[in-house]
Symmetry: C2
């Protein structure tokens, strides 16, 4: 059962629960909905964002090619275009995420509900698959998404697992974590593994220390969730990785989504399955 | 049974049949082996090539991102580097394919056994997965590869299926064709579909006219093979597509492999399976 995030009104929540992807993007665009999108529009792929000036775009495109687990690209827009044409019909990259982060020289300088006022003609937008996409399939298989039932954002951790560098871009991988009961771990691997475009199979199962995560109760992004007796922490590559790369690589300007606050695309998860 | 191509001596053929990927690349590099590589080093991924100056590399990288079926990227080298580091340990891009094609302004101007003399410091090499990679798995499943048993190059056709354009790059898709007996078509789809990095599942099964192929006996690249009673032509996306793109998009300079004459990588097919 999907719990309402505390910062969303009951009326807007009811609209969001029955919205199509286009309708949800409209609720986000007009400022009504400003919360994590996990659990909404089940069956449709959700997406991460990093926007870079054309000057840095080649290096990041190459970085994504070399690191497909954290950075599976659903769409890369033509320079200057704010509208998507592949993953969603005319989504406005500058307004259709519930919240954005602005980084200058690797420093987080702002978190804003729109980046309309910052848009530049040379911006290239990288729309990156998100593990929220396969959550509805895990739920259908009877696997609880603890962050949803607790009305929280998913837990995300900066690990010590290095990405493959590309030009000016390097950094460690961010992973999202979901506690999964022992007997459902194999099924969770199989179900998510069929959709590599939204991070696919997990990268790590079990001991958080093995990937440099010291304390599950203190995620680097998102909220902590309860991990109960008999449950295993399962870690998936996460599309917040570009933010760790930005912090490590310090490009002059980068815009990303705020972790958990995703673009809901018109792309069916089923269309992203292995082909 | 793999038949010896007519332009390879029996002595070299025996060496090639038992070579490791590194040994085969050495036979190619020293000029001993100059023939299609299909069937050699079973279990290892083979790869297509397009080399472009850095000026055109962004557009092609974006083109590959938008067209992953014909252009699954196994490795993109840093500008100027001739050596691979990801798909093979120090393969020389300029010498380790059995044959190269040189295109100027979209025109094929030369076919040469090495591009050592043409190398520029601003070259970026795109190493693209090849369907020869999954052939050994099809053979293991009892599916005959007709071009191998006939000692010919695989048949490749320029179709009327358009790729998604990116910047200055556009063109139609090239597909390789293998005749498959009716009762083995489903298995061929399943086996190849598990390795999207080497083109994955076929794009078309059956009537060649539906994809704009007028005459199976006249392939645009490679050799014709016999299609027998009870067999269905099955078409896979092909890494010769970049050559069709070069012909249509006319970049000042592009170097590719000669169709069928691939890089044999150190990458196991099994490591490219869906993850």
């Amino acid at each position: 059962m999907l719990a309402r995030p505390h910062d969303v009104s009951e009326a807007v929540w009811q609209q969001a629960l029955s919205a199509t992807p286009g309708q949800l993007r409209q609720l986000i665009r007009d400022g009504s909905f400003k919360a994590p999108t996990s659990g909404l529009c089940p069956g449709y792929a959700q997406a991460n964002l990093i926007v870079l000036p054309r000057q840095q775009a080649y290096d990041f495109l190459l970085f994504a090619q070399r690191n497909p687990k954290p950075c599976p690209l659903l769409e890369v827009t033509d320079a200057g275009s704010r509208l998507t044409s592949i993953c969603a019909d005319g989504a406005d990259v500058a307004r259709d995420f519930p919240s954005y982060r602005v980084y200058r020289h690797g420093q987080l300088v702002d978190e804003v509900p729109s980046v309309d006022h910052l848009w530049q003609d040379d911006f290239v937008s990288f729309i990156i698959g998100c593990s929220f996409s396969f959550e509805s399939e895990l739920v259908e298989a009877g696997i609880e998404m603890r962050h949803n039932t607790q009305g929280r954002n998913v837990s995300m951790y900066l690990t010590n697992v290095p990405c493959v560098p590309a030009g000016s871009m390097s950094g460690n991988m961010v992973m999202s974590m979901r506690p999964i009961p022992q007997h459902q771990v194999v099924r969770a691997v199989q179900i998510s593994g069929m959709i590599p475009q939204v991070h696919g199979a997990p990268l790590h199962i079990g001991d958080p220390a093995a990937i440099g995560v010291a304390d599950l109760a203190r995620p680097d992004f998102g909220d902590a969730v309860d991990v109960r007796e008999g449950e295993v922490p399962v870690f998936w590559a996460c599309g917040v990785t570009p933010q760790a790369v930005v912090m490590a690589s310090k490009p002059p300007l980068a815009i990303t989504h705020a972790p958990g606050c995703m673009l809901v695309t018109d792309t069916l998860n089923s269309s992203l399955k292995v082909q």
